[in-house]
């Protein structure tokens, strides 16, 4: 039976969003090919991952169960999915493009003499699969040219999840054969780095404050914003020179070089010493009262205004959005 198999992965935070997005991608592919959708995941058939279905439910769900799959290993997952795919013979296998999928799917695909089309952002007629090259500077369209199963992974956020439908699907258990000796690596439980040392370099979100803050008394304003965003607080050199924040929180040529996903520059004009320390940030937001401040040249989003009004409003807006 030829189908589109959409694979779900259990997330640490229990969220089903990326599964729902992958389902949406599967539906797009189903519309283009006329093939039915099926779903698969490692775990208990009663687990939430099979319940939070959005849109029309897949025709079947496969719960892969084995004690050796309790902790993720590439060896175990490759074996399990290899057996499932050999049994189901799907035409397409869709994964969410997560760190876990990146770890084992290329190996799984190679076992079938196939190559994963990874980090796909769109699916068009053909079907062709779009992905980005050169760090987003080029879009590329790929086509699968073999008879074997086509492995695809879907970029987080590229497809919008459908509305919850409350639908259910029949779930069957799949019990792969795995020997302990086949699992060659031993993972430990995930951990986070202790929060003792400030590591701005690996922070995902940073709120950075500059001379626009004027006095140390105003620092709680930005502290509140950082708190609301679950972000690290950092500063430009004059702030650290004044001792309003410790030196290790200084961003810039004589301080740390950072590259978070979100960088908020509050009251920072954007001298070169500062720019070289944060230019690699994915999304830069600047708040400054001077519309000509150089920071706006590098920012993705800007608010020209008094930070003493904008920052509290922003803190409220972030809280409201949660």
């Amino acid at each position: 039976m030829s189908s589109i198999l959409v694979v779900q992965e259990a997330r640490r935070d229990g969220s089903a969003r990326i599964f729902q997005e992958t389902l949406a991608a599967g539906r797009k592919l189903a519309a283009l090919t006329g093939l039915p959708l099926e779903a698969a995941a490692v775990g208990d058939p009663n687990a939430n991952i099979f319940r939070e279905i959005t849109g029309a439910p897949p025709s079947a769900g496969h719960a892969i169960r084995h004690p050796l799959l309790a902790a993720y290993t590439a060896d175990g997952y490759v074996l399990a999915f290899e057996q499932l795919i050999r049994q189901l013979e799907p035409r397409y296998v869709l994964f969410p493009h997560t760190y876990q999928a990146r770890d084992f799917v290329p190996r799984l695909a190679a076992r079938f003499g196939q190559v994963l089309i990874g980090d796909v952002t769109a699916i068009e007629t053909g079907p062709t699969f779009e992905r980005q090259l050169f760090q987003g500077r080029i879009n590329a369209a790929y086509r699968h040219t073999s008879d074997g199963p086509c492995f695809v992974s879907i970029q987080n956020g590229a497809f919008r999840a459908d509305e919850p439908s409350g639908g259910t699907m029949p779930i069957s258990e799949f019990l792969p054969a795995i020997e302990p000796a086949q699992i060659r690596i031993q993972p430990s439980d995930p951990f986070r780095e202790s929060a003792q040392t400030v590591d701005l370099g690996s922070a995902q979100r940073i709120v950075c404050v500059g001379r626009g803050i004027k006095t140390a008394d105003n620092m709680p304003l930005v502290e509140a914003l950082a708190g609301a965003l679950d972000a690290e607080l950092a500063a430009s050199r004059p702030i650290c020179d004044n001792g309003w924040l410790p030196m290790e929180r200084q961003v810039g040529s004589s301080g740390q070089t950072v590259a978070p996903k979100l960088y908020l520059a509050i009251g920072i004009s954007g001298a070169i010493q500062h720019l070289v320390g944060m230019k690699g940030s994915q999304c830069i937001v600047a708040v400054n009262k001077d519309a000509d401040a150089p920071i706006f040249e590098v920012a993705n989003y800007g608010i020209v205004g008094d930070l003493f009004e904008v920052v509290p409003a922003l803190t409220e807006a972030v809280k409201a959005a949660k």
Partner: protein, 256 residues
Amino acid sequence: MKIVVAIKQVPDRDAPIRIASAGKWIEEADLQWAMNEPDAYALEEALQLKEKHGGEVVVVSAGPERVATTIREALAKGADRAIHIVADDLGSRDALGVARLLAAAIQPENPDLVLTGLQSEDMGLGQTGVILAELLRLPHSTLILHVEKTDAGLRVKRELEEGWFQSIEMPLPAVLTMQSGGNKLRYATLMGIKRAKTKELRAVNAAELGAGPAPVVVLEQITLPKKQKSTQILSGSPKEAATALVEKLKTEARVL
């Protein structure tokens, strides 16, 4: 410990990207080339392991003539010798095809450890190392920041999503794909460049490594993305601007 590092030469990040007339690939004539950064971190890790435990670091790279400059750079930074798989047609091979070339060159070396970057800065496939492990029938782990040799093999630190990490024990030989930033890269030195001149750089023709099956995935067309980055200034009252910003961060930039 004998370590093989697979490196790739990629267009310099700064290089202006233009699409060639056929729309299948970029214009390569005007490009500057550099070592893929995650591969540079893989090389750094290999050199540090060698400095700690002794052994040999062998660099393998596939590509046309120009790749030799990047190989020389690796030798200058401290690799002991290198294998250049001379291939002018890498673009027409898929990740499996390229990995097959690398595996054919690495296999006879019988390394204890194979390192490579987790992905390339040009194609961004992030698969070559993992496929290499499959072809060499070795265990692998990806997104590695730190490698420690133990009596039984290796203990590695793997990056997970959202600030989580994991420690993994694995036997040798193995394949690891390295994440950027786990180490500090060393700079190239004049002494290194001069010493590199006397190191072995063996060129192997891709054809000698055997022709693999046809590619299963083909790149049909490339285009420039429509949206260019520019600054969006959000206007209105502080409250309106703040609300609009949060909405954009959620839906457009997807960073919240």
